[in-house]
Symmetry: C2
Subunit: 326 residues, 2 copies
């Protein structure tokens, strides 16, 4: 069945900065795509209106209405009711907002919510590496570090939809305080802001000539991306910062690999664009910490879905008709 005749679904990724949406079919072929600024400080109603308008515009262009909308959101949701519980990075934190009900009323289609990282894992499982890998561990490396676990093709959610919070695995018990209230979480070392902070420190130390040049001396230009460019250009300090992040990703992964023996560990989110600079030390750490079985059978790779991981995640949620806790 071609995409022109197949059932249509909508996938939307609600981020702190952008709303990214698409229409596609159950096989993952995208027909329409849009991205608009979230403008989260305009309030919930404005943001939900913007999501609905985007879906309506895409439906108009496609000449058809989607069967269902899957929405990935940055935080915890009630999977049954489709209410947001806590979106830490949005103003007012969206506590108990009946998002699914509001959007269903306007769009006249089923709306299902899921945490964005879990949605990305579901999307990767349906449309990305999951086509060859039944069991996967996925990290989303962005402003925060999220994750999702797929076992035998099934996303693990747990009773609250909160299983998969592997960005908060402790990798250094006396490490930096994390926004979650714990210390030394993986997130405090490998999130975008964590890498940027290390880059800023490096710039101030005077030991990163390439980074200084790439950022034209401006600390505001320090980011995982410029840090990666400096590492590639030969700054040992920049390389060391990324290698440490990769090693700690490998350390956190090693426990999950021993527990689950997955087919693949997938990296998504902006920081994953560092690619081999991050994956090589991660691989070495895995090899140093996993001796109970040959770990070379476990692949480590960047998401196949790239910047569209969130959108494909929403699409996957819509295609599945939502997910249930447990």
């Amino acid at each position: 069945m071609s995409a022109a005749n197949a059932q249509l679904f909508a996938g939307v990724d609600l981020g702190g900065t952008n709303i990214h949406g698409a229409l596609g079919d159950a096989s993952g072929t995208l027909l329409e795509e849009e991205k608009v600024p979230t403008c989260a400080n305009e309030g919930q109603d404005a943001v939900l209106g913007r999501i609905a308008s985007m879906v309506e515009r895409m439906a108009r262009r496609a000449g058809r209405t989607p069967e269902a909308l899957g929405l990935g959101v940055p935080g915890l949701v009630d999977l049954e009711s489709g209410e947001t519980r806590f979106l830490p990075n949005l103003p007012t934190q969206w506590r108990n907002v009946p998002v699914a009900a509001i959007l269903e009323r306007r769009l006249k289609c089923k709306v299902r919510l899921l945490n964005d990282a879990r949605a990305a894992a579901l999307g990767e499982s349906m449309f990305g590496h999951g086509r060859e890998a039944r069991t996967m561990v996925l990290f989303t490396l962005g402003t925060g570090v999220g994750g999702g676990i797929v076992i035998d093709g099934r996303l693990r959610l747990g009773p609250l939809g909160a299983a998969g919070e592997i960005g908060h695995i402790c990798v250094q018990p006396d490490g930096p305080w994390c926004s979650c209230g714990s210390r030394g979480c993986l997130e405090t070392f490998v999130s975008g802001p964590a890498l940027t902070a290390e880059g800023v420190r490096l710039l101030a130390s005077g030991n990163a000539p390439h980074l200084l040049e790439i950022c034209r001396g401006d600390v505001n230009r320090v980011s995982p991306e410029t840090l990666g460019m400096a590492a590639a250009a030969g700054d040992p300090g920049a390389r060391a910062v990324i290698e440490r992040a990769g090693a700690l990703l490998g350390l956190a992964s090693s426990g999950l690999v021993l527990a689950l023996h997955p087919d693949i560990v997938v990296l998504g989110g902006g920081v994953a664009a560092l690619g081999d600079l991050l994956i090589a030390p991660m691989r070495r750490a895995l090899e140093s910490h996993v001796h109970m079985f040959p770990v070379d059978g476990v692949r480590v790779a960047c998401s196949r879905l790239g910047e569209r991981a969130g959108v494909y995640g929403g699409l996957a949620v819509a295609v599945q008709g939502g997910v249930r806790p447990g």
Copy 2:
């Protein structure tokens, strides 16, 4: 259906010291039970003969032959062929011994093998805490530290039957060398020998008057059990040693709890007899490391099957007709 008429199964746990076996029905009611020394240094044939004779004796007493035998072994096995791959704690390590085939020829019933800790997890799932908990993480704390993960009622095995090796989660990257070749594995802190070594150190330090008295000054009497007695009697050093083990068990568990949000974390094996001395600090560590959801919903408890965990594990394997990788 009463046990007298139900199908009969045999469960055997092959340990380095003892062979422990039982006959029971699919509901976990045991009809016969036996324990004999392994005498592993007499060689594979003698040990396999001893297992077969034990099952035959129990069958004679019961007046019936079991449908199948499930055998838990201390190491890695090929689940399909029923050959042992590597039993590190037995002489000659039993590489590629066709154990299932040998026992099937003699016993005229199906024989299925499984790693002993994974078997214990399956047994706990079928006959112990699993009656209320669908998703569990189980540690077996003995000479080594093994484990098993049950997700939605299904034992996770992975392609080599080696998933669940959570005794080798790294809790201290620069920690003691482990028998597996890595460093700072949980096993190096919470196994029986690890606790005993700390107890011996404590005795030598002169800071454990109760331990000294309980052991009558003899270092050979130091064990997790005497250490637990000394802690209960008020030795702060003995208490500190056990608390550190519990805290590291909690640290290793916290990553799995974040990833899987299980209903329960179960402790089995001899060291688990320390009970609350171990569980209280473990619980505190879990609370300190897991902030993404309320961790008080995750139970921590000793195995319901106690010393029979291995036997029930074998029985569970027999009842299931074996397990498949994946």
